[in-house]
């Protein structure tokens, strides 16, 4: 049973409620199903809807995305147009009007495709708490969460140069299905060979993971089918796949090289 729903109108007030044991909720797409089924982890909910931490800003090539910005707002933003294809693979339009960027960092795999993108983008997470505000690499937040009482307020990311962003998600249906394998990458080339690569994978581990082994394979080589297949096989060292209703761990491992290749070559 829920005993209180707080709707703080400032980050400081939200931090106070969270530090007192309230369960933070942004869009509600993960929290409310648990409320509805009677399995909420705290009797007190703290909604961030009125905390004033939504919206997208662009400063040069660096975008700052407020934590309560919805996925629909990302989908519609000119500043983050490169993410439109990825966001449209997430759930349905009726979920994307609620689900938020900040919330996506705390969604269990195989959900959280935007978090996979943010890992590939090496985003920085802005975090408020009872101490001074701090920043953390998105990888650290995905791996370890935040301290109870802290509130993610924004993420910052460098908008990739044209032609350097890649995303592909394999799912059981064309729309509104969770990841079997999701691949997000920022890869730069010069003279026909890869000069830098950041590749993140979803659906193949308990949290989004960097495919460091695949990145190593690509450096200095062209983005061609056999190279990408080799990188995909190497990426098997970086994953810890699981069985769920969408696919088996065996299947995820098996098809990873195919989907890594498709992320770049279609």
């Amino acid at each position: 049973m829920i005993s209180a729903v707080r709707t703080p109108d400032s980050v400081a007030a939200a931090v106070g409620h969270a530090a007192a044991g309230g369960w933070l909720m942004a869009g509600g797409t993960v929290v409310m199903p648990q409320v509805n089924s009677g399995s909420a982890r705290s009797p007190e909910l703290v909604s961030l809807r009125r905390a004033g931490i939504g919206g997208i800003g662009l400063d040069g090539a660096v975008a700052r995305v407020g934590a309560t910005t919805t996925l629909a707002e990302v989908e519609e933003s000119a500043e983050l147009a490169f993410l439109r294809g990825a966001v449209r693979t997430v759930a349905s339009p009726t979920i994307r009007t609620l689900a938020t960027v900040g919330g996506n960092l705390f969604v269990a795999q195989p959900y959280g495709d935007l978090a996979v993108c943010l890992l590939a983008l090496d985003a920085t997470v802005e975090i408020a708490g009872q101490q001074s505000p701090r920043e953390a690499p998105v990888g650290a937040v995905l791996a370890g969460g935040v301290v109870p009482g802290e509130v993610v307020t924004a993420v910052r990311l460098a908008v990739p140069a044209p032609g350097t962003w890649f995303y592909h998600k394999a799912m059981r249906r064309k729309l509104n299905s969770a990841a079997i394998v999701a691949v997000a990458a920022v890869v730069e080339t010069a003279g026909g060979v890869v000069t830098s690569a950041r590749i993140a994978l979803g659906g193949v581990a308990p949290r989004p993971v960097r495919a460091a082994s695949a990145e190593t394979v690509l450096i200095g080589r062209p983005l061609e089918s056999d190279v990408l297949e080799e990188a995909g096989r190497a990426a098997r060292a970086d994953i810890a796949p699981f069985d769920d209703a969408y696919a088996s761990a065996w299947y995820r491992d098996r098809v990873l090289p195919v989907h890594l290749r498709r992320a770049f070559l279609g």
Partner: protein, 157 residues
């Protein structure tokens, strides 16, 4: 904590009601306001039959804690017909046999209204995407997609 007073503008009427902590927008519409078009299906955001427009955008009403949206504008299926006349989407559903058992219909129509409000001339793929969060176990979806395209054409003409 005690129930709180919530104000919403529902189908262009100001409504005020009491909500116990954690009450969903869906429960408020159905139980406090007697607007039973939006259905309670899965209560998990997976079926779409509770779809309503919240400040003009389609949402799963079962996922919205109503105390967090005080002052918002809500549109439900009850607010679609004008002066007793079905609108284009409703007429197209009826004439195109796009309803069978009818349980998904309120959510389907609201998802369609949200689409056509923003995109008066959608492609078939755009219609399919717009209703991708709405489950129908009767029709196979074809007649629903056809009806929404038909409604868009009627509204444009």
């Amino acid at each position: 904590m005690a129930s709180s007073v919530v104000n919403l503008r529902v189908n262009e009427r100001s409504r005020e009601f009491l909500a116990a902590p954690g009450t969903t927008l869906l429960s408020s519409l159905r139980d406090a306001l007697g607007l039973t078009a939006a259905k309670r299906g899965c209560a998990q955001g997976g079926c779409g039959t509770c779809t309503v427009l919240l400040d003009g955008r389609p949402v799963m009403a079962c996922l919205v804690a109503v105390e967090t949206v005080g002052g918002a504008s809500v549109r439900t299926l009850e607010g679609v017909a004008r002066d007793g006349e079905l609108d284009e989407v409703q007429s197209a559903f009826l004439e195109g046999f796009a309803t069978q058992c009818g349980f998904c219909t309120p959510g389907m129509i609201m998802a369609a209204e949200a689409l056509l409000d923003r995109n008066p001339d959608p492609t078939r793929d755009e219609v399919v995407e717009a209703i991708s969060g709405n489950v129908c176990r009767c029709t196979g979806y074809g007649p629903i997609v056809d009806a929404i395209l038909d409604a868009a054409a009627r509204r444009r003409s």
